[in-house]
C-alpha cells in the first residue's frame, strides 16, 4: 500500500473518532466476557469470531497511528500497520459480524462492536475493497433519488398492477379512494416499502381496512449505504425519504419490515416534523384502537417470533409484535433465552444482500439460531424484517426445520376480518 493511500485511509479513520468511538476503543480490558455472545462464535468456536478479537483488529491500527504507544512501544499493545494484509483481516472481521450488538449485552462496559466494525467497513470502502455489489446497490438508490421523474411512470404502472391484486384478494375497495395512493400531499402517513409486491400488497390491505389516510413512497426503504458502512451514501439514501415526507407534509413516516431502514430512519434522521414508526407499531396501534380486527383461527399451530436485531434490541420494538401475535394465535411460543438475548438470524450487516456468496457462511454461523427456533416446537416462524425472513427461509431449508416462515404484516393482512 502506498503512502498516499494509507494517509487517505487514516483520514477516514480519523473521521470516525468521535467521543463514543474513542471510549469504545480505549476502554476494552479484553476480559473475555463477550466470548460466548456472538452467534458466529457459538456456532463455530474460533477466536476470530469473538467480539473483542474483531474489535482488536481495528484497535491495533488505532494504537499504531492514533496513540503514542504505537510509536514509542508498538509491541506493548501489538499495534499494527495498515497494509493490504490488514485490510483482508478487517474484511473478515467486518463481514462476519452482522451488527446485531448481542455482545453489547454481555460487555461490562457496553462496548458497541458494530460501531467499531463501522471503521473497518469505511476503510474497506476507502480502499475499494468492500463488497462491490453493496456499493452498486447503494449507488442505484442514490441515482433514483436524483432522477425520480425518470422512474416515476414505471413505478406508477407497477403500483396499478398491484392494486388489482389487493382488490381481488381482500374484496376491498377503499371507498372513493385509490387502493394504493402515491404522491398524496397532506396524507397522514407515508409508507416506505421495499421493492417487492410482498412488502406493498398486505400493507395496503391493512392501511385501507384501518381507514388510514396514507400514501406510498416512491423510494424503497432499504439502505445499502448503511450495509456497506458509507456514511455519505447512507445519508443520501435516507434524505430521499426525508425530503419526500417533508414535501408531502405527512405526520408520520412508517417503515416497512426492514430492520436497517427502521433503525437508520428512527435514529439517524435527526429531529424532523414527522414521527417515525415501524409498520409493526402501526399495526399494533390499529388493533388497540379497534380499527382492524383479526381472525385468530386463520393460522393453525404454534407460532414463534424472531426479533430482528435492528428493530428489537437496537430499535426498541419488543412489545408490539407480541401484542399483535396475541390476536393471531392462542399458542405463542417465546424463544429461550428471552428477547434481550435473542440470537441474530445470521443475515444482518449486508450478508443476506450478498446472496449466494455468503450462503455457506450464513448457514454455518447461524446453527445456534436454527436450534433456538427448533426448540420452540412452533409451526410458524414470524418475523418483521426482510433480511431476517430471507435468512430464516434459508435456515429452514438448510436445517430442514419444516417451518412456515412468515412476515408479520402478511399474517395480519391474511387474518383481517372485513
Amino acid at each position: 500500500m502506498d503512502a498516499k493511500t494509507r494517509d487517505d485511509l487514516l483520514q477516514l479513520f480519523q473521521s470516525k473518532l468521535n467521543r463514543a468511538m474513542t471510549y469504545y476503543l480505549e476502554t476494552c480490558t479484553r476480559c473475555g466476557v463477550c466470548t460466548t455472545a456472538c452467534h458466529v462464535y457459538q456456532s463455530m468456536p474460533q477466536a476470530k469470531y469473538i467480539a473483542a478479537y474483531r474489535a482488536e483488529i481495528v484497535r491495533r491500527i488505532y494504537k499504531k497511528y492514533f496513540k503514542g504507544q504505537g510509536k514509542v512501544w508498538p509491541s506493548y499493545g501489538e499495534a499494527k500497520e495498515l497494509t493490504e494484509m490488514a485490510l483482508e483481516e478487517l474484511y473478515e472481521a467486518a463481514y462476519s459480524c452482522t451488527g446485531c450488538r448481542r455482545c453489547m449485552v454481555y460487555c461490562p462496559f457496553g462496548i458497541d462492536t458494530q460501531m467499531i466494525m463501522s471503521i473497518a467497513k469505511l476503510l474497506l470502502v476507502g480502499a475499494h475493497a468492500e463488497p462491490e455489489i453493496l456499493t452498486l446497490l447503494a449507488d442505484t438508490s442514490i441515482e433514483k433519488g436524483k432522477s425520480i421523474e425518470f422512474f416515476k411512470e414505471g413505478f406508477l404502472q407497477g403500483v396499478k398492477n398491484l392494486e388489482q391484486q389487493v382488490v381481488e384478494k381482500w374484496k376491498l375497495e377503499a371507498e372513493g379512494k385509490t387502493v394504493i395512493p402515491v404522491d398524496v400531499e397532506g396524507a397522514d402517513l407515508l409508507y416506505v416499502a421495499l421493492a417487492g409486491a410482498h412488502s406493498i400488497i398486505p400493507a395496503a390491505a391493512v392501511f385501507n381496512a384501518a381507514g388510514e389516510n396514507w400514501t406510498l413512497s416512491f423510494f424503497e426503504a432499504v439502505n445499502f449505504g448503511a450495509f456497506v458502512g458509507d456514511p455519505t451514501k447512507t445519508k443520501l439514501i435516507l434524505d430521499r425519504i426525508v425530503n419526500e415526507a417533508k414535501r408531502l407534509k405527512v405526520k408520520e413516516v412508517c417503515i416497512c419490515e426492514c430492520g436497517t431502514a427502521y433503525r437508520v430512519m428512527k435514529q439517524l434522521s435527526g429531529k424532523q416534523p414527522f414521527e417515525v414508526s415501524s409498520v409493526t407499531e402501526v399495526h399494533a396501534r390499529y388493533i388497540r384502537e379497534g380499527r382492524i380486527k383479526l381472525d385468530k383461527s386463520r393460522f393453525q399451530g404454534p407460532v414463534t417470533y424472531h426479533d430482528p436485531c435492528q428493530i428489537a434490541r437496537n430499535g426498541g420494538i419488543l412489545e408490539e409484535p407480541r401484542y399483535i401475535l396475541q390476536h393471531l394465535t392462542d399458542d405463542y411460543r417465546e424463544m429461550a433465552p428471552d428477547p434481550r438475548y435473542n440470537y441474530c438470524c445470521g443475515g444482518g450487516g449486508g450478508l443476506v444482500a450478498l446472496g449466494e456468496e455468503t450462503l455457506d457462511f450464513r448457514m454455518k454461523s447461524a446453527r445456534v439460531k436454527a436450534e433456538q427456533v427448533q426448540k420452540t416446537g412452533a409451526a410458524i416462524l414470524a418475523t418483521a424484517c426482510e433480511n431476517c425472513h430471507t435468512q430464516l427461509e434459508n435456515l429452514n431449508h438448510h436445517y430442514k426445520l419444516g417451518m412456515n416462515v412468515q412476515f408479520l404484516t402478511s399474517m395480519v393482512a391474511d387474518a383481517l376480518v372485513i
Binding site: L17, N18, R19, A20, M21, T22, Y23, Y24, E26, T27, C28, T29, R30, C31, G32, V33, T35, T36, A37, P45, A47, I50, A52, Y53, E56, R60, K67, G68, Q69, S75, Y76, G77, E78, R101, M104, V105, Y106, C107, P108, F109, G110, I111, D112, M115, Q267, L268, G270, A312, R313, N314, G315, G316, L318, P339, R340
Partner: protein
C-alpha cells in the same frame, strides 16, 4: 545504593504523579473535546432511570455476574481490595475521621486486603494463559497484571511483616513522616525507611507503583474513568 533508593522514593514519585495526573487530565479533556455521537447508542428494552442503571452496570457489573460468575467474584474482590488499599494509603498520610467510622488499626484490613488483591491478580493472570482469553490478549494485558502483582506483593510484604510477624522497625509513624514531607514538598526520608532491613521492599514497592502510575493514562486502566460514561451510552 542509597542514592538510588532516594531517587526512587522522592524524584521518581513526583515524576510518576505528575505523569499520572497531567496525563489523565489531558487525555480526558482531549476526548471530551471530540464531537458527541449524533445518534443514540442504547440497547433495548430501555431501563429507567438510565443513569441509575448505568451506575449499577458500572459498579456491580451484572453482565459479568450472569455470564461468568467466578470472574465476577474475583473482579469484585479485586476492585474492593483496590478501594481499601487507596483508603489504607491515605491513612498513611494522616488520620481521617471519615475512614475511622469503623474503627481499625492502620493499615486497614489486617493484611488480608493485600492478600486478596494478590490472589485475584494471580487468577486474572492465569486465566489469560488459557484459551479463549489467551487468544484475545495482547502484551499489555500481561505487563499490567505482572506490574500490579509486583507492586501489591512488595507492598503487602511490609504490611504482613508488621501484622503477622511483629516486625516493628518501619512503622506507620515513619511512613507518615515520609509521605507528609512529600505532599508538603519538603521531602525528607526518615532513617527507618532508608536504612532498615525492609527498605528494599519499600523501594521496590514504590518503584513498581511509580511505573504503574506512569503507564496508567496511556493504558486500558483508563477504564477507571471511562467505565461510567461508556455504560451511560448503552443505557441511553
Amino acid at each position: 545504593m542509597h542514592t538510588i533508593y532516594y531517587l526512587v522514593l522522592v524524584p521518581m514519585v513526583y515524576a510518576a504523579f505528575a505523569v499520572f495526573i497531567v496525563g489523565s487530565i489531558v487525555r480526558m479533556i482531549k476526548i471530551l473535546r471530540t464531537p458527541k455521537h449524533p445518534t443514540t447508542l442504547q440497547i433495548f428494552p430501555k431501563k429507567e432511570p438510565a443513569w441509575l442503571h448505568a451506575l449499577s452496570d458500572t459498579f456491580l457489573m451484572p453482565t459479568v455476574l450472569k455470564h461468568n460468575p467466578l470472574l465476577w467474584v474475583f473482579l469484585v474482590l479485586f476492585h474492593g481490595a483496590v478501594l481499601l488499599l487507596v483508603i489504607g494509603h491515605l491513612e498513611l498520610f494522616s488520620d481521617f475521621a471519615l475512614f475511622q467510622i469503623i474503627p481499625h488499626e492502620v493499615f486497614i484490613g489486617k493484611g488480608l486486603v493485600g492478600l486478596t488483591a494478590a490472589v485475584s491478580l494471580l487468577y486474572f493472570l492465569f486465566r489469560r494463559f488459557t484459551s479463549p482469553v489467551r487468544d484475545i490478549s495482547v502484551a499489555e494485558d500481561y505487563y499490567l497484571l505482572i506490574l500490579l502483582f509486583l507492586t501489591v506483593i512488595f507492598g503487602s510484604e511490609m504490611d504482613w511483616a508488621r501484622r503477622w510477624y511483629d516486625y516493628d522497625v518501619m512503622g506507620v509513624d515513619a511512613y507518615r513522616t515520609y509521605l507528609w514531607s512529600l505532599i508538603t514538598f519538603q521531602p525528607q526520608v526518615p532513617d527507618e525507611i532508608l536504612f532498615s532491613g525492609h527498605s528494599f521492599m519499600l523501594v521496590l514497592h514504590v518503584f513498581f507503583a511509580n511505573i504503574f502510575l506512569m503507564v496508567f493514562p496511556f493504558s486500558k486502566i483508563m477504564h477507571t474513568f471511562f467505565a461510567l460514561p461508556v455504560n451511560k451510552l448503552r443505557r441511553g
